[in-house]
Amino acid sequence: MTAIQKKSDNPIAHLTAEDIELLGKQLDAIRQSVLDERGESDARYIRTVIDVHRKVELGSRAVLLASGFPPAWILGTIGLSVAKILENMEIGHNILHGQWDWMRDPKIHSTTWEWDMASPAVQWKHSHNQLHHTYTNVIGKDNDLGYGIMRVDEDQKWAPGHLLQPVWSFLNACFFEYGIAAYDLELGAVIAKGQTKDPEFRRRGKEVLRKIGRQVRKDYVVHPLLSGPNFVPTLAANFVANVVRNLWSNSVILCGHFPEGVETFEKRSIEGETKGEWYVRQMLGSANISGGKLMHLMTGNLSRQIEHHLFPDLPSNRYAEISPQVKALFEEYGLNYHEAPLPQQVYSAWHKIFRLSLPNGWLDNTTPANLPKQLVKLWKMSTGSRTVRRRLTLAEMAG
């Protein structure tokens, strides 16, 4: 993929400025229709989900007290994984977006909520709500594009280090919550710039460590201790549940912005961007996961990533009902509503991670027949000087 502005077949070339403004107005109207109706049934929805989560979490942890008994371990671990997923996705993510602030319930409010995850809510809100949602898919601005550690776009220069990218990506997926915490801290950039002594960074770093401390103590000390003789199996159950939750949320998030065909944007392109243009960027920079009610619930309705990015603060239970209207607008304006089942989107995202771990064009040009030759070329590019790399890259792209 290449930033939309550099594409020969720019998918928004056919839209005039007036089209885009009109589209913006139509989307505003959809948003307003939800605001007008928002009320008691929505409040009941989120309270029910919270209630179910608490019961499942408590029940699973109780079952795990007998985790030495294998069926109890299996049941408890599944339950705890489900609880943690619900808590992070449909509950935490959406409350921290302010989707439920309108209820004025101090217990379900973006300013008071804390979630079951390594990154403290305040820090995540800043990097997610203010940066990612504002600069969605703008190369060099939206750090969610590869979390600053991955090459996620052809426009980013390839280096031999990128060959390890699939390994990093997989590890990042397993321990995603810590990856997010480091990313919210901008740990990579701070270390690279030698700013680790900055007092503000230290304060935030301490906050993260305190949060991680509390989380680790609960999952890996207190709960196992309460299980008495079943200390080790309970600890293992917590570990598995955390990894399952991490893999799941990582997959859902990959599906939201990484599948092939999702557009990226140049920094320049968002200068003086109108509301309508911002909407268009959200429309083309996001992808949906198709599926049933359960899929939507377990993804925190990020399966409606497009609708979520258009209207990040509408209650998540409403995305389903507006999605046909949003889809109709895509059709009306000749835009591609990117939607596919989870396995397909996950495959697509990982395929991209592999493809971009290699020099531009390499994977496309490789067939079983020319594999040995291609491997030799890759070896030369990885070990050769920069000039060699550039020459070979150009040759590769020419096919």
């Binding site: 008691e40 209630d51 004025r104 103590r217």
Partner: protein, 369 residues
């Protein structure tokens, strides 16, 4: 919200301390949630919980008024007759807080207290409480508060002047009046018709047994009582301490009359809403410094209402300028007091605080919250 910490029952301070210690230990296992979050699922009225109440019954009083019997949480402290309680109720999914006078006798055998609400046209909360609230509903509460109470010892001769739902705090007082304090009580009450008189039977009963002297004025047919009419009806007015509760206009007329007669210090009033006189200024953008939220507020809307409508969690109390439960530091900018039109400005470091419930933005301003 201004949540008053219930003071622990003096007979059981050690138990309370032990409970709090246990909860802190339990938090190690429930973080990021609190153990209380789980306990709330089982027993929302328990001691130590945020103060709540459950509606046990709703009794119709008139066509637009009803009495709600509320079982308060176990940390509820006894009120003083005449005081009000703040009630938080979810209407259309949105938490709304309003003040209501307590109308019940102290120390009811069932441990409940009552409030009596009159639905006003287009009123969000009053209509919900009167017409759409079912027994079993959970409400959020603060401890009772308010200054509209009889002094100790009780003055010998008292006069109560009420109109409409203004009878409620007075009923709260009358029902709790000890016999020796009820020696000489006059109540002048106005309502549109005989059928609109809340507590009509009970009041007429009190009058029949001679406990009070009741003057009922049905304003649809007999017109409104002016302050001078009241003086004529109650010739020994100057010897009485007077408590009044009703519409703003009535209270202002009484205050003027009593002041004119040199009796200002013998008149006690309770207002249900502020007198708004300055509703036509320019508004402005209000910024909350804690998280940078901005809210566009017009010059007629209290900052409290504008911020709440935008989803900001605001501290609040009576919502009419008497309790100071809504006070926030004004870091910079200008606000206008809706009751007087007076503009307050602040620069950083001035340490100015403002009541958001009766202040509207008068240009851009920043509040520390």
């Amino acid at each position: 919200m201004t949540v008053m910490q219930p003071s622990p029952s003096p007979t059981r301070p050690r138990l309370t301390a032990l409970r709090d210690r246990l909860l802190r230990i339990a938090e190690l296992a429930t973080t990021p949630l609190l153990p209380q979050d789980y306990l709330d699922m089982v027993d929302p009225l328990r001691s130590g919980a945020a103060l709540r109440g459950r509606v046990e019954a709703v009794h119709r009083e008139t066509r637009d008024a009803a009495t709600l019997v509320i079982r308060p949480g176990r940390d509820w402290l006894p009120h003083v007759p005449g005081q009000y309680v703040r009630i938080g109720v979810d209407v259309d999914g949105v938490r709304q807080w309003r003040a209501y006078s307590i109308t019940s006798v102290l120390g009811r055998a069932d441990g409940c207290f009552t409030i009596t609400v009159k639905a006003i046209p287009d009123g969000t909360v009053s209509n919900h409480l009167v017409h759409r609230t079912q027994p079993g509903t959970l409400l959020h509460l603060d401890q009772a508060t308010g200054e509209f109470v009889l002094p100790r010892p009780c003055p010998g001769k008292t006069l109560f002047v009420t109109a409409g739902s203004g009878i409620t705090p007075v009923m709260g007082i009358l029902r709790n009046l000890a016999d020796e304090d009820a020696a000489d009580v006059v109540l002048v009450h106005s309502a549109p018709t005989a059928d609109d008189v809340i507590f009509a039977n009970e009041l007429r009963g009190m009058a029949a047994t001679g406990r009070i002297r009741l003057v009922e004025q049905h304003t649809d047919t007999a017109g409104m009582l002016g302050a001078a009419d009241i003086a004529a009806l109650v010739p020994d007015l100057a010897e009485r301490s007077t408590w009044a509760c009703g519409p703003v206009g009535m209270l202002e007329a009484l205050e003027a009359h009593w002041a004119g007669a040199g009796l200002a210090d013998r008149l006690y009033t309770e207002r249900f809403r502020p007198t708004v006189i300055a509703a036509d200024g320019e508004g402005g953008t209000v910024t909350f410094t804690a998280d940078g939220t901005t809210v566009d507020a017009d010059g007629a809307t209290p900052i409290l209402d504008a911020a709440e409508a935008a989803g900001v969690l605001m501290p609040s109390g009576c919502r009419m300028g008497i309790c100071f439960g809504c006070v926030l530091p004004l870091r910079e900018g200008a606000v206008r007091d809706l009751r007087t039109g007076e503009v307050t400005t602040a620069a950083p470091g001035d340490g100015v605080v403002v009541q958001t419930c009766i202040s509207a933005a008068a240009g851009a301003c920043q509040l520390d919250h």
